[in-house]
C-alpha cells in the first residue's frame, strides 16, 4: 500500500505501472497537508483510515478491483516508453 497526497497521485500511479503493479493500493490524502495544524492533520488521517484498513485487510480481489478502477487512463505523457 502507498499513502500519498493527491498532488503526487500521478507519480504513484506511474511508478506502480512501471513496476507492473496496476492494482497497488494507493490511498490519497487531500493536498496540501504540509501546512495543516497537527489537529487538522490527524483529521486528514482519520478521513483515509477506513480505506487503509480495507486495503490492508479486505479480500484481495475486492481490494485489487477497487484500486485498479481508480487508476486514470494513461495519457500520451505516460504511455510511451521511448529510448
Amino acid at each position: 500500500m502507498l499513502i500519498a497526497s493527491t498532488e503526487f497521485a500521478s507519480l504513484g500511479y506511474g511508478e506502480a505501472a512501471a513496476f507492473g503493479l496496476p492494482s497497488l493500493p494507493l490511498v490519497l490524502v487531500q493536498h496540501p497537508f504540509g501546512t495543516l495544524s497537527p489537529e487538522k492533520a490527524r483529521l486528514a488521517g482519520d478521513d483515509i483510515m477506513d480505506e487503509v484498513v480495507f486495503a490492508a485487510t479486505g479480500p484481495t480481489q475486492e481490494v485489487e478491483k477497487h484500486f485498479r478502477e481508480r487508476v486514470p487512463k494513461p495519457s500520451k505523457m505516460t504511455q510511451d516508453d521511448h529510448g
Binding site: 498532488e7 511508478e15 512501471a18 500520451k76 510511451d80 521511448h82 529510448g83
Partner: protein
C-alpha cells in the same frame, strides 16, 4: 529508430518509421511526449550508430535504471537521446558519464526528478576533454552559444524525460522548475583558476577527464565590482548565500559556489586557499532567525537540531565548511554565482569519464 537485436528485445529500442520531413518527425515525437518541447534532431540509425561507436561501448550495455519510472538506460537508448539533443558523437562519453553519475544511489535521482523543488542535475566538466570538444568555460559560461554545453546538458534532460519518465506535471512534480531543466552544463575555467582545478582538489589526476553532477536550484547572481579585499568580498558573497527561502536553512547539504576568475584572484592574492574560502563563507552564511517564520523554525528544529543548541545564534546555511564546493568559471567581469542545492538527501557525484560503470540498481 534504434537497431533491433536478437540478444534481448527488452533492452533494444523499438524502431519507428516516419514518412515525411523534419517537421513530420518532430510532430510525431512531440505527439508521443518524447522530448522537452524544442525540436529534436531525428535519431536515424546512422546518427545513433555514430554516437555509440564514439563511446567504444556495446549497444546493449545496461547503464542503469532511471528514476522515477525506472526505465532501463542502455548505451543505445542514451545515444538516441544524445542524438535528439544535437550532440556530436565526441560529446557522447560525457553524456554517458553524466547519466552514470546521476543514477548513483547517493544522488537520489528519484528525489531530484519527482520533487516540487526547482532542481536540475547540473553537469560540471573538468579535464582535457572539455577543451577537446569545445565546452565553454569563459564568457557566458552558463549561457547560450556553445553547442557542447547546450547539447550535453539537454541530452541528460532528454534521458531523464524519455527513459526516466520525468514528464512535467506527471512524474516530475516541480512547482515552477527553472531554465536549467532544459540544459545545465558548464566547464571549469582551468586556465584562469588561481587554484588547483576542482577535480584535482578532489583527488583526480590533472589530465583525467571528469564529470560532476550536482542537484542545482536556480542560481543567485553575486555582483561585486567594488570590494578590493578578500575580507570585503567574502562578506558580500557569504551574505548572498542567506536567502531564507532556499533549501539550505531547512535541509543543509552541499552548496555550490561558482566564482568568476576576477573574484577568485582577489581571494587567492591574499593567500586564501579554496578551503580557507569555504571556512570564511561558512561563518558569514547564517540566516537571521527573524527572517524565518516561527513554523519554519519549528521544522528546522526537527530537521537540524544542532541549530538549536544556542538559540541566540543565527541559522547556518551549511552544516560544515567543506559542504561548500567551489568551482571557477566565466570570463572577465565581477559576477560570481551561488547555486543552492536541494538538501542533504542529494549528494553530488564526481566520476571519471569512461570510468568503471556504476553498480546496477536491482529491480
Amino acid at each position: 529508430m534504434g537497431k533491433s537485436s536478437q540478444v534481448d528485445e527488452s533492452l533494444t529500442a523499438k524502431p519507428v518509421e516516419i514518412e515525411g520531413d523534419f517537421e513530420d518527425v518532430n510532430t510525431y515525437f512531440l505527439e508521443h511526449g518524447w522530448g522537452d518541447g524544442l525540436p529534436v534532431v531525428p535519431p536515424t540509425q546512422a546518427r545513433v550508430d555514430a554516437m555509440i561507436e564514439a563511446s567504444g561501448r556495446n549497444r546493449l550495455d545496461v547503464v542503469g535504471r532511471v528514476a522515477p519510472r525506472w526505465g532501463i538506460a542502455t548505451v543505445e537508448k542514451v545515444a538516441i537521446n544524445a542524438t535528439m539533443a544535437g550532440c556530436r558523437p565526441d560529446y557522447f562519453p560525457v553524456v554517458l558519464a553524466a547519466v552514470e553519475a546521476v543514477i548513483e544511489e547517493p544522488f537520489d535521482l528519484y528525489g531530484v526528478q519527482a520533487t516540487t523543488n526547482p532542481v536540475a542535475p547540473m553537469i560540471v566538466v573538468n579535464g582535457p576533454i572539455s577543451r577537446r570538444i569545445g565546452l565553454n568555460s569563459g564568457y557566458n559560461a552558463f549561457g547560450q552559444g556553445w553547442r557542447a554545453n547546450a547539447t550535453i546538458g539537454r541530452a541528460l534532460r532528454l534521458v531523464l524525460l524519455n527513459i526516466g519518465g520525468g514528464k512535467p506535471g506527471v512524474m516530475d512534480r516541480a512547482t515552477q522548475g527553472h531554465p536549467g531543466k532544459y540544459s545545465f552544463c558548464v566547464a571549469e575555467n582551468e586556465a584562469e583558476t588561481p587554484w588547483d582545478p576542482f577535480h584535482v582538489e578532489h583527488g583526480f589526476a590533472r589530465n583525467a577527464d571528469i564529470v560532476t553532477v550536482y542537484g542545482a536550484a536556480a542560481f543567485i547572481n553575486i555582483l561585486d565590482h567594488t570590494s578590493r579585499t578578500a575580507t570585503g568580498l567574502l562578506n558580500m558573497i557569504g551574505h548572498s548565500m542567506t536567502a531564507s527561502g532556499n533549501n539550505h536553512p531547512l535541509f543543509a547539504g552541499v552548496a555550490l559556489l561558482a566564482l568568476c576568475p576576477e573574484h577568485a584572484r582577489i581571494l587567492s592574492a591574499e593567500g586564501y586557499s579554496k578551503a580557507d574560502v569555504s571556512r570564511e563563507l561558512f561563518k558569514h552564511a547564517r540566516v537571521p532567525r527573524a527572517h524565518l517564520s516561527s513554523e519554519c523554525l519549528d521544522l528546522i528544529k526537527r530537521m537540524r537540531p544542532n541549530q538549536f543548541s544556542d538559540e541566540s545564534r543565527d541559522i547556518d546555511v551549511l552544516d560544515r565548511p567543506e559542504d561548500l564546493w567551489i568551482i571557477v568559471t566565466g570570463g572577465g567581469g565581477p559576477h560570481s554565482s551561488f547555486i543552492p542545492g536541494y538538501g542533504s538527501s542529494v549528494q553530488p557525484i564526481i566520476r571519471e569519464i569512461g570510468g568503471k560503470p556504476a553498480v546496477k540498481r536491482p529491480m
